[in-house]
Assembly symmetry: C2
Homo-oligomer: 463 residues x 2
């Protein structure tokens, strides 16, 4: 028999988008709830995200004259996911996204910008940006609601073990006073969950040992855009209990990152919004292009990684000016550099100058002709040749961005075991789960996932 130190109805593990959402819904369903967060501050990776939410069939889309439907959204995510998405989960996400978005706006009071964007892979504009283009806007609103509802938030409290009495999950062993620099610090307490435990601990993008088993390319030589504590211990604890893992080897790389700065950094704004749209990516040995620069994240990331060392993304002043984006931070940090001549640029990066000049000439010819025969890149209506100095360049090297795989859940956010049955008392939502996104997650669908399945987990765990 476990000796319990405290008793709740619902214990939520993790204080990111999914966890805070689940806690709010469980509380509103009448449960005594506690939220555990292993770090000193809540927010996890959610708080450093761009705060983009995708949803189909919203009033904001109507205002902007955009026609969309959950079915179209479903098809877009399924195509990006290479058909590996769990159909039932994908249906739940796409059909409940608009209502979850409305809930975040009206009930939580999240402020969104008056615009509807379209990120790669979405066939219409359906992405909404939280004010300030940051997830912090959403986390702040959630924390305010948590406080209003009187839900305790225990920081520096880490899951050690999920307690199972032979029939159901009854609670957790946790370490209070957790410090990632000294894993033995703090004290162990047993917290009882009369109704349910909800695991919302995020992905394992920063867990080098765990991710390298599933994708051996992703050794410690590959950085991550995640915070360093995006590790897999809660996922592993659930697996030890017999939870089925889903698609763990589908790990998303950011293709727009630079090896010349840590984490997400300032370079992606240049690479993703200017370089890949108007410029080129060249091989460090040959100075030649080797990929359609507008391919999706998966194709681009795999191609750049397969070169074995950083490639160079090149654009010109015309494109930077035309784009309207302010890349001064990347320039100041010297992640993006400027050169008066192509020769100077080639010299700096050790590229063969003649080959690079020829590559640019051929690219400019493709732009003029409207067809990129060799790499099949679509030539945009506002494409332009690379010719106006200064020339801008940035080294590219992928970083681990998101882990599509994780715990198998059903449409009620219940964790499923290796015999295909729900584990009584155990729920999960967000990046720690797998199957919703299949082989490749589309931009701005992660927060939607957290909102939709966080709400479902919270309601169901409350019983």
């Amino acid at each position: 028999m476990t000796r319990w130190d405290e008793t709740f109805d619902v214990i939520v593990v993790g204080a990111g988008f999914a966890g805070l959402t689940a806690a709010i819904e469980a509380r509103n369903a009448g449960a005594r709830v506690v939220v555990l967060e292993k770090m000193k501050a809540p927010g996890g990776n959610s708080i450093i995200s761009d705060g983009g939410v995708a949803a189909a069939g919203t009033p904001l889309q109507k205002q902007h004259g955009i026609e969309d439907s959950p079915e179209l959204f479903y098809n877009d995510m399924l195509q990006a996911g290479l058909g590996l998405n769990h159909p039932g989960l994908l249906r739940v996400l796409t059909q409940n996204a608009a209502e979850a978005f409305r809930w975040s706006e009206e009930y939580l009071g999240v402020e969104y910008m008056d615009r509807v964007d379209r990120f790669g892979g979405h066939s219409v504009n359906r992405c909404y940006a939280a004010a300030g283009i940051t997830g912090a806007t959403i986390i702040r609103a959630m924390l305010k609601k948590i406080k209003e509802l009187g839900i305790p938030l225990r920081k520096s409290t880490c899951l050690e073990k999920i307690i199972f009495d032979g029939e159901r999950v009854t609670g957790l062993s946790v370490r209070e006073g957790y410090n990632y620099k000294d894993p033995e610090a703090g004290t162990i307490k047993n917290l009882q969950a009369d109704s349910g435990v909800i695991v919302t601990t995020g992905g394992f993008g920063a867990d080098v040992a765990f991710r390298a088993v599933q994708d051996p390319r992703l050794t410690g030589k590959i950085d991550t855009t995640n915070k360093i504590f995006a590790t897999g211990e809660a996922l592993v604890e659930a697996m030890r209990l017999g939870a089925a893992p889903v698609q763990l080897s589908h790990i998303q790389l950011g293709a727009w990152t630079s090896p010349d700065e840590k984490g997400f950094g300032s370079g992606p704004l240049f690479a993703d919004y200017i370089g890949f749209l108007y410029g080129i990516i060249v091989h460090p040995d040959t100075g030649k292009r080797f990929v359609n620069e507008q391919a999706d994240r998966k194709v681009l990331g795999d191609a750049i990684l397969s070169v074995g060392r950083p490639s160079v993304c090149i654009s010109d002043h015309g494109a930077v000016e035309h784009s309207g984006w302010d890349i001064s931070r990347a320039l100041k940090k010297k992640v993006v550099k400027t050169f008066e001549t192509v020769e100077g640029l080639a010299g700096h990066y050790g590229l063969p100058a003649d080959a690079l000049s020829q590559t640019i000439t051929e690219f400019n010819r493709a732009v003029a002709s409207g067809v990129d025969v060799e790499y099949g890149r679509p030539i945009l209506h506002d494409s332009m040749p690379i010719k106006r100095p200064p020339f801008y360049a940035m080294r590219l090297w992928p970083k681990v961005h998101y882990t599509m795989g994780g715990l198998q859940i059903n449409e009620e956010a219940r964790v499923i075991d290796l015999d295909h049955r729900p584990i009584p008392g155990l729920y999960a939502a967000g990046e720690v789960t797998g199957g919703v996104h299949g082989a490749c997650r589309l931009g701005s669908c992660a927060i939607t996932d957290c909102l939709v399945f966080g709400r479902i987990a919270g309601k169901n765990a409350a019983g």
Copy 2:
């Protein structure tokens, strides 16, 4: 305390290529060995395979004037595997393949044909065909050796549970008198393994529920080339014990199979050796091509599956004659059909006749010009237009062929747990393991995998 019914040094679970190899090596290392086989006869999927073994640097290659090396072999498998292969395991396989092949020939007495073939993805000829082009030739030699060595082979004996004493695997609970039609039949016995248990139970290609969690496209509507008992129960038992799964969602589809016959069947000989080389694959709605017919298994299988219903593979009499292959069995079974006219063919399969004629005209033009602009297919030196009746056609629908993912093992064939440590006393080899082949297995590398890691597991488990 477990009450043991019998005691051995090494228990091998599964009597296919990997299991029989492991048993022979464990016996030769001095261990008391038993082999368990859940079915009534040994051989598993191995016995219905084509008996092809890949190895680099063999005397047979030298005789045929073929230059090859383990490094080249490594690079070929890594490229096919999309870089996801575990490097250490891949190195062990490629460096020990030639010696394992020699062992099978000289020690086991397996008879191979005097030819060295090259299957898709191998950059040189390095594939050896067992006499009769069947795995049964190899299994027969192994069973003969097992008998010579006095190793007991227990048929109709199924693994129920792996027994772990808190420190190491000490044995197994098994069901004697197992009958897959009545899983409760037979009696439970506990078999002690003083030295080690070796799991060589093959893949889970026929386990619809398990595979559909990892790849939801692979429902019961998709057949398999495997025997019906290629299910995941031993893999799951090891996972319950904390064994780490690797890349479970990488499941190989055969793209050359027909929905008009069960299992592997007779159609693949036409599709893979004639249709894909000289003919075309057309979409059932449009009558147009939609894929490079010479793409690898993964690309082809995914493309054909994404259509949602069977495509049609078409070739002509010139190609059939030129190929030299005898496809009479496929014709007799009506899996491949012949038509005097393109219109007749179109009518039979419900294809738009005009569009199909145009597709063939365009394809013939590509063959004549030597470039297939639209689908990037290489035009072989002996390519020929589709024009000489009768026209041959076969419906294509992928079948599950091989599961690349499975238990994580290290270079000693020890099973690794979720904390990245070997589980004492537990070994695995062959298709039940993951990581060697990465995202996509090359043809004729599965038997090599079984021979190399079966030998290692057997030697190490003997202690």
